[in-house]
């Protein structure tokens, strides 16, 4: 198989950015270079001004009201999209950022829930992003629910999961049904491989599309202005993108 003209990271950036096009304000966590790049990409090609807030950044973060402002801002409905990950993610889009085992008797400890138990409820479009696509991460049922994927109708919840993007595939989350549907598999990945590596059940169309490869203009943006914007926040990742750009 010939080398594609793009890296896996660039593919993922392009996939995530498509989910952000047209939004007004996208926020990204401090340690999220691929989502960060996707936000800058969507911003670079946005028809109307798009705001990108990168937590922990000095130059891409205009908050001036302390650590609570992100959460207050989300509650005010001023953030349209955010990214969350998880040590475990299950088929109901429940997220586990705390650990494996019978809490509090854990066998594996993750850092903790951060703001997930809140932001997942309040931000309309939460995109789950986890590069590792394995039955270890994508489990039938998480051991600890840092944030639930769905809520009963009486629970105030303007937000929730929109999609799950991994290194192998894209799943859309169907809120009504409360489950994932395989939306596409990345170039070179088979549906069987995805099924085998996914610990939870999911719907799939009769024909599973292939995730579209990044277009030339998209790659040019990623390797140009997006990389430059990233450099302050994610210097190591930005350097990787630039190296790839120079090599190609």
């Amino acid at each position: 198989m010939s080398e594609p003209g793009w890296s896996k990271a660039e593919l993922l950036v392009a996939v995530l950015a498509r989910m952000l096009d047209g939004l007004g304000h996208v926020a990204v966590g401090a340690a999220s270079p691929i989502p960060g790049a996707a936000a800058f990409l969507a911003q670079a090609r946005a028809a109307r001004a798009m705001r990108v807030t990168v937590l922990g950044s000095e130059s891409h973060n205009d908050f001036t009201d302390g650590g609570r402002e992100l959460f207050d801002c989300a509650a005010q409905g001023r953030i349209d999209a955010f990214f969350l990950g998880g040590g475990q993610i299950d088929g109901q889009a429940n997220l586990n950022l705390v650990g494996c085992g019978d809490y509090p008797d854990l066998t594996v400890r993750f850092p903790g829930s951060y703001g997930s138990a809140y932001l997942y409820f309040l931000i309309p479009r939460v995109i789950l992003f986890r590069e590792e696509h394995s039955a270890r991460v994508l489990v039938p049922k998480v051991d600890f629910i840092s944030a639930p994927g769905v809520s009963p109708p009486e629970v105030y919840r303007p937000g929730g999961p929109h999609a799950l993007v991994t290194s192998k595939a894209v799943f859309a989350f169907e809120r009504e049904r409360g489950g994932f549907r395989l939306a596409s598999v990345h170039p070179g990945i088979g549906v069987d491989e995805v099924t085998a590596q996914t610990g939870f059940a999911f719907e799939r169309p009769a024909q599973v599309p292939t995730t579209p490869a990044p277009e030339a203009e998209t790659l040019a943006l990623i390797r140009g202005p997006v990389g430059a914007a990233l450099a302050e926040v994610y210097p190591r990742f930005a350097a990787t993108l630039r190296r790839h750009g120079e090599a190609s």
Binding site: G67, F71, G112, Y118, S146
Partner: protein
């Protein structure tokens, strides 16, 4: 101004100690001084998460309990001593979520016994917090909402760029330090430098000041956040932090790190 040793003398064994996240001005020099003094039984409240400081204090045996939304070394990976201590159940870990910690401090800031907060319902964060309550919104009905009890830290400790001799501390945009100080009984601050004049006299500076009214003590500690960074002053010492992340994976490595960097012999701080 007080010597660092006198400042941390205000933090007794068992204190409920509020600390900021790694990017917000962590009093690392004061933390090393606390370790050298041999403080014990600290109950750390991370506002709302923590990293090196909490890991170091746990590894040095200073910590009985942690409440936090997360403890991690960021892109350098898990906080090894925290992880080991939690898995061994050597510390009491209270898992929270960022906005809940902010809100619980705001409750104390406002002098109310609880604060309502959206989200949370259906999470195990809530399920394992017997101290949190779900009530039906009295203004609507059929609308469950969480009430968080106020958290009142005994001490808040952080590092800031500068202060004046009256005890006014410039914190700039780092306003989580304001709520923390308002909520804490005593706020102790280390600063890079002490400036002449009164910060309140300059309206541009005043906008970023935590007034002396809330500050129980200030000590000068140049590079006092090192090896973490201080926004606008110096970046994190990534090489040092990477070495910590590596050494702290084992108890022996951590002991070696501690001997090098927080030993009683290092009394220069």
């Amino acid at each position: 101004m007080r010597p660092l040793a006198a400042l941390i003398g205000e933090i007794g064994d068992g204190a409920l100690l509020a600390v900021p996240p790694d990017y917000s001005g962590v009093a690392m020099a004061a933390t090393r001084a606390l370790i050298r003094r041999g403080v014990r039984g600290l109950r750390l409240l991370a506002v709302p998460q923590s990293g090196l400081q909490t890991d170091l204090l746990i590894g040095a045996g200073c910590v009985a309990a942690v409440e936090s939304a997360a403890v991690s070394l960021g892109d350098l990976g898990p906080a090894p001593r925290f992880t080991a201590a939690v898995l061994a159940r050597r510390i009491a870990m209270t898992d929270s979520t960022c906005p809940a910690i902010h809100a619980a401090l705001q409750a104390t800031e406002k002098g109310v016994p609880f604060f309502p907060l959206r989200g949370l319902i259906g999470s195990d964060v809530l399920r394992f917090r017997p101290d949190w309550r779900v009530i039906d919104n009295p203004f609507a009905g059929g609308d469950p909402i969480v009430l968080l009890p106020a958290i009142a830290p005994e001490v808040a400790l952080f590092h800031a760029p500068f202060a004046d001799r009256a005890g006014n501390v410039w914190i700039g945009r780092r306003r989580e330090l304001v709520s923390m100080a308002h909520a804490a009984d005593k706020t102790l601050v280390t600063v890079e430098e002490v400036v002449d004049g009164n910060l309140m006299d300059d309206q541009t500076l005043a906008a970023g000041v935590l007034p002396a009214l809330y500050v129980a003590g200030v000590a000068q500690a140049p590079k006092g956040a090192w090896p973490l960074g201080l926004a606008g002053r110096y970046p994190p010492d990534r090489a040092h932090l990477a070495r910590y992340a590596e050494l702290a994976k084992s108890e022996a490595g951590f002991a070696r790190y501690l001997a090098e960097h927080a030993d009683a012999a290092q009394a220069a701080e």
